[in-house]
């Protein structure tokens, strides 16, 4: 069967090529359906409990999508007539942002003062033209002492302020809505900077984050994919010294990527931050198949075979290992289907499709192209051959030392695996060169973080929020939250009622406390409701029938475990202090905080399933349960070591890294497959000793292994350069794991095989001794002779 396939390719190369082109381009046409989804919600499956909680909360209260202008005047003081005029201008202009429903800044803050029985509600900066330096201390005092503004809109010292635009995105077409908002926000930023050059303006907020998701991914595709092509070309030309081989490989890569992207386009996939890295990964993985075929092909040609026979022989030798490694790689990537996060499922499936396509093209299009192209085997290939043999001798000679030493090192490094901290901070999904990250870091350092936790407290009775007991619980909880060390800001209805109580008593500070009667609270709220400006209503804080209220805490950009700890403490606070109310806690921040752990749990199952499947496949392919079991070690060690090393590099794992173990499993298995196949081949076919077999394995696949590893590591290191840190970290850890895999296969696996097989040999020898002592002696002599 398989001969038929590649013989057809070798006999009718032009036809195969033509067929492939038609098929690939037909499929690739589907790529027109691919669109990029930048919404952060794509990271969550529909059944994700934190997403469900958050959406339930958004059904009850107003939504909170926003865009933020961060303003830093160069003179270090917001409170000058010029700077306030600038903020007033920006506030007015920001109403023009599409889908905006509200703009908040210090200038349009509804300041309330009581003068006897008059309650005066007005914009803090009403008429910028009339401001004088004499007004400044009063405005500053008001702005920096109001709990609604302090550390949310204005910094304590008054050196940084924001203009917050609340948005009501229809959500009908996020692909156009978000860029529409972002481009208007940027246009306003540019106009502001031109008109008021004495300000530094930066942008953040949920919409800018979503924009960053798509923009970093797009810029990655524009820089990383070409870089990857460059590196593959360079490596291949340098190592194989063959133009036509490189060219044919390039075609296989392009076909595999185009076919995959087209196919998923037809299947209705959409692109997301993680899944845009699929082409880079497919490219990297497709190269390996070609290298194996080329290496054998050149070997045969150097040994005097004609082009066609050499190709035939190469395909005959490589068909099974390439099929096996492609299937195991696909299984590894398909383990990502267990991920809780849809983009990673998509990535896994895309790469799995790509890898299988690469296999198909490697045994059809690739030989067809090589038949057509003029090929001369590179000379350089022969030069390094001695290297591998020398290395094999080293490993064999030092095996007694290598095995324990590597074992100890492996255990020592892997011991740090559990030390990695679990963390998914969506701000840190971007590296520090991304504007969104810079802006958000700046805002955190000077004003407040972007981490929000929303707490809904439900009295479970209509108008129940006016109950003094309920309000006291809300007030106490808000104060408790405010006192937490990482809290930047708390938005709560209790502050509003305290302030109104004070206003209604002639601004007497002694009345800055919660009203003690139900009717009074209700009537204050009515008054408050009547005084709210355009774009604001109580629904932000209260549900429709006033039975529940939402308290929003803004926190520094915390790690996932810290956020989960705060969440747990919040539930505990209510259990201890106000158990009669129903509490719901949700936010995008918490969604990300939980997804790492959820994903690790689900990926553990996925990775285990993949491991079992792959081990069974290996055992079947190698026709040996024994080798199937032995292969577990070199297959498991790389990821354990990789994560152990990761503790020293970064120390934080999350969503993206939780898929690396499963993903790399399929790749590292390849090395083991190739090495074990050749080792076993030598043992079974030629009846060689374990040492001899190691030598044989090194000399036949050693070179191909380190070249493919080099290409793979280079490929994933390119991905590691991504400014989208989620992909970058994934690339880096994969590169590390693959490097470790090669080292393990080169210096740990051979001594292990020799030790285990030496034992087996001894046993057999013992058994043989009884029957035929002479054979034993000759065997020993053979072994000794070979050991030299």
């Amino acid at each position: 069967m398989r001969e038929r396939i590649y013989n057809f390719a070798l006999n009718r190369p032009w036809l195969v090529l033509l067929l492939a082109i038609v098929l690939v381009f037909g499929t690739a046409y589907g790529a027109k359906n691919l669109v990029f989804k930048g919404d952060y919600k794509v990271f969550f499956s529909e059944e994700n409990p934190q997403l469900t909680d958050f959406e339930a909360m958004q059904e009850i209260y107003s939504k909170s999508d926003n865009a933020v202008f961060i303003l830093e005047p160069k003179n270090g003081d917001i409170f000058t007539p010029e700077n306030l005029t600038a903020i007033h201008w920006l506030t007015t202009e920001a109403w023009q942002v599409p889908y905006s429903t509200r703009v908040d800044s210090i200038s349009n803050f509804q300041h309330t003062i009581a003068e006897e029985d008059d309650l005066i509600v007005e914009d803090l900066v009403l008429a910028p033209g009339t401001l004088t330096a004499a007004d400044m201390p009063r405005i500053k005092q008001i702005a920096t002492s109001d709990p609604l503004l302090l550390n949310k809109i204005i910094s304590k010292t008054g050196h940084v302020s924001i203009v917050n635009v609340t948005l009501q995105l229809p959500g009908l077409d996020p692909i156009t809505e978000i860029p529409e908002v972002a481009s208007k926000v940027r246009a306003i930023q540019a106009a502001f900077e031109q008109q008021y050059p004495n300000f530094n303006v930066q942008l953040t907020g949920m919409v800018m984050m979503n924009t960053a998701f798509s923009e970093t991914s797009l810029s990655d595709s524009a820089t990383l994919v070409p870089a990857m092509f460059g590196i593959v070309l360079l490596t291949m030309i340098l190592l194989l010294r063959s133009f036509s081989g490189t060219f044919a490989t390039l075609i296989v890569i392009i076909f595999s990527i185009a076919g995959t992207m087209g196919a998923v386009g037809w299947f209705g996939f959409y692109l997301t931050g993680p899944s845009v890295s699929a082409p880079t990964m497919i490219m990297t993985l497709a190269v390996a198949d070609c290298i194996h075929i080329l290496t054998s092909y050149y070997y045969e040609m150097r040994h005097g075979k004609a082009k066609k026979e050499a190709l035939q022989e190469s395909l005959r030798v490589n068909f099974k290992p390439i099929l096996l490694t492609s299937v195991t790689t696909a299984i590894g990537f398909m383990s990502m289907n267990f991920s809780d996060s849809p983009p990673f499922r998509d990535l896994g499936n895309m790469v799995a499709i790509g890898v299988m396509l690469a296999f198909v093209f490697s045994i059809t299009v690739f030989p067809a192209l090589l038949m057509i192209l003029p090929v001369k085997p590179g000379k350089a290939t022969a030069d390094n051959h001695g290297m591998m043999e020398k290395f094999a001798e080293f490993v064999i000679a030092k095996r007694k030392l290598l095995l324990p030493v590597t074992a100890v090192i492996i255990i020592a490094i892997a011991a740090f695996l559990p030390q990695n901290k679990l963390d998914d901070n969506f701000v840190e999904y971007f590296d520090t060169t991304v504007d969104f990250r810079k802006a958000t870091d700046f805002m955190e350092a000077n004003l407040s973080g972007l981490s929000l936790i929303e707490v809904s407290v439900d009295s479970q009775t209509s108008s129940g929020i006016n109950d003094p007991k309920f309000l006291k619980a809300v007030g106490d909880f808000s104060e408790w939250m405010r006192a937490l060390p990482d809290t930047d800001h708390v938005s709560t209805i209790s502050d509003v009622l305290k302030r109104l109580n004070k206003n209604m008593h002639g601004d007497d500070q002694a009345y800055y406390r919660l009203p003690e009667e139900r009717e009074l609270s209700a009537q204050y709220l009515l008054l408050y409701e009547m005084s709210l400006p355009y774009g604001l209503d109580l629904n932000n804080q209260l549900n429709v029938d006033k039975s529940s209220t939402r308290i929003i805490g803004t926190f520094k950009n915390l790690s996932s475990s810290e956020q989960i700890a705060i969440e747990t403490n919040m539930y505990q606070w209510f259990a201890d202090n106000a158990p009669e109310y129903k509490i719901d806690i949700a936010s995008p921040t918490l969604m990300f905080a939980h997804i790492g752990q959820r994903n690790i749990n689900s990926m553990l199952i996925g990775t285990t399933a993949a491991l079992i499947l792959i081990s069974i496949l290996l055992a079947v392919a190698l026709k040996s349960v024994r080798y199937g079991v032995i292969s577990l070690l070199p297959n498991l060690i790389p990821a354990s070591l990789g994560f152990g090393l990761w503790y020293f590099i970064d120390g934080q794992v999350g969503l993206a890294l939780s898929v690396v173990a499963g993903m790399t499993l399929g790749i590292v298995v390849d090395d083991t497959v190739h090495f074990l196949t050749k080792y076993k081949h030598a043992r079974d076919k030629y009846g060689k000793s374990s040492e001899e077999a190691v030598r044989y394995a090194f000399s036949s696949v050693g070179r191909a292994l380190w070249i493919t590893t080099l290409v793979l590591v280079a490929g994933f290191m390119v991905l590691a350069q991504s400014t989208f840190k989620l992909n970058g970290d994934m690339g880096l850890l994969t590169a590390i794991t693959i490097s470790v895999a090669l080292i393990v296969d080169f210096i740990f696996l051979p001594p292990l095989l020799m030790m285990l097989d030496a034992r087996k040999e001894k046993k057999q020898q013992k058994a043989n001794n009884i029957n035929n002592p002479i054979v034993d002696d000759s065997n020993l002599a053979f072994a000794k002779g070979n050991a030299k």
Binding site: L119, E122, E517, A522, N539
Partner: protein, 265 residues
């Protein structure tokens, strides 16, 4: 009052002459103004009014909250009307009363009486565009229609629920308005505002008001029994259901001041 009727007649007469001439030289702006003046004239002279209103607030999911308000309104010539609203429901705000003198230009005068505090508070605010009692109606939506509040432009004739309608665009003259424009459908037969589209500051469609079940009172004044306001951006809506319209109750200026506010119930 006599003076008022006289001026109305004069305006009506001039409008009539205008419409006669319109076949020749009326601009869309002039026609829009003429239609709007006709609306005002046809509803002129109702003097005072009592009514009860049930307000149904609905969020995106259709969850409801109900408020009940009784209103007393006094017609004021050449400016916004004076109104006194007394809240009956929800129970914990019962007895709260709100007095408002709306103005064509500038801030409205507003007083609120809180029974729990037993005090009248004057609220000085430029907040015409803010929501009334958490509803989708803003203060300016509920205030009386005055010619000077807008400039006008006639767009076209269109078929509508009550036959044929004029479609007129109205552009607020007050800079504190929350809108860039309103588009009003006025039926040709009786000059009733059947539908209004509200456009926000960035000129996107924000809300639509539909007025239903018009009844005629005192042989002249048309009042809608149901007003439905739908916010297209937040998907929230508010229904106003009016009952017990009563005209000519002999109310005067003295029924609309701080002291009556306290006694209102």
């Amino acid at each position: 009052m006599k003076f008022k009727i006289l001026t109305s007649t004069l305006i009506a007469a001039s409008v009539l002459t205008l419409s006669v001439n319109s076949a020749f030289a009326e601009t869309p702006e002039e026609k829009g103004l003429a239609i709007s003046e006709q609306i005002k004239i046809r509803d002129d002279g109702w003097v005072d009014m009592l009514a009860s209103m049930k307000m149904v607030l609905r969020n995106k999911q259709g969850q409801e909250s109900i408020r009940e308000i009784r209103m007393k309104v006094l017609e004021v010539a050449d400016d916004g009307d004076k109104s006194l609203s007394i809240f009956d429901r929800p129970r914990d705000v019962k007895g709260t009363a709100f007095l408002s003198f709306s103005h064509t230009q500038g801030a409205d005068d507003q007083w609120l009486y809180l029974p729990a505090l037993k005090r009248v508070k004057r609220i000085a605010s430029r907040n015409k565009s803010g929501p009334f009692m958490g509803s989708e109606f803003s203060f300016e939506d509920l205030a009386s229609f005055e010619i000077a509040k807008y400039t006008y432009k006639y767009i076209e004739d269109q078929a509508c629920d009550l036959g044929q309608c004029f479609v007129v665009e109205q552009y607020p003259t007050d800079k504190n308005s929350g809108y860039t424009k309103r588009v009003v459908w006025v039926d040709k037969a009786e000059y009733r505002m059947i539908k209004t589209d509200f456009y926000d500051r960035k000129n996107s469609l924000l809300k639509t008001l539909t007025s239903l079940d018009y009844q005629q009172y005192k042989g002249k004044f048309w009042r809608a029994s149901t007003m439905k306001m739908v916010n297209h951006q937040s998907k929230k809506s508010t229904d106003l259901q009016w009952v017990d319209y009563r005209f000519g109750n002999g109310l005067t200026e003295s029924d609309f001041n701080k002291n009556t506010l306290k006694r209102a119930r």
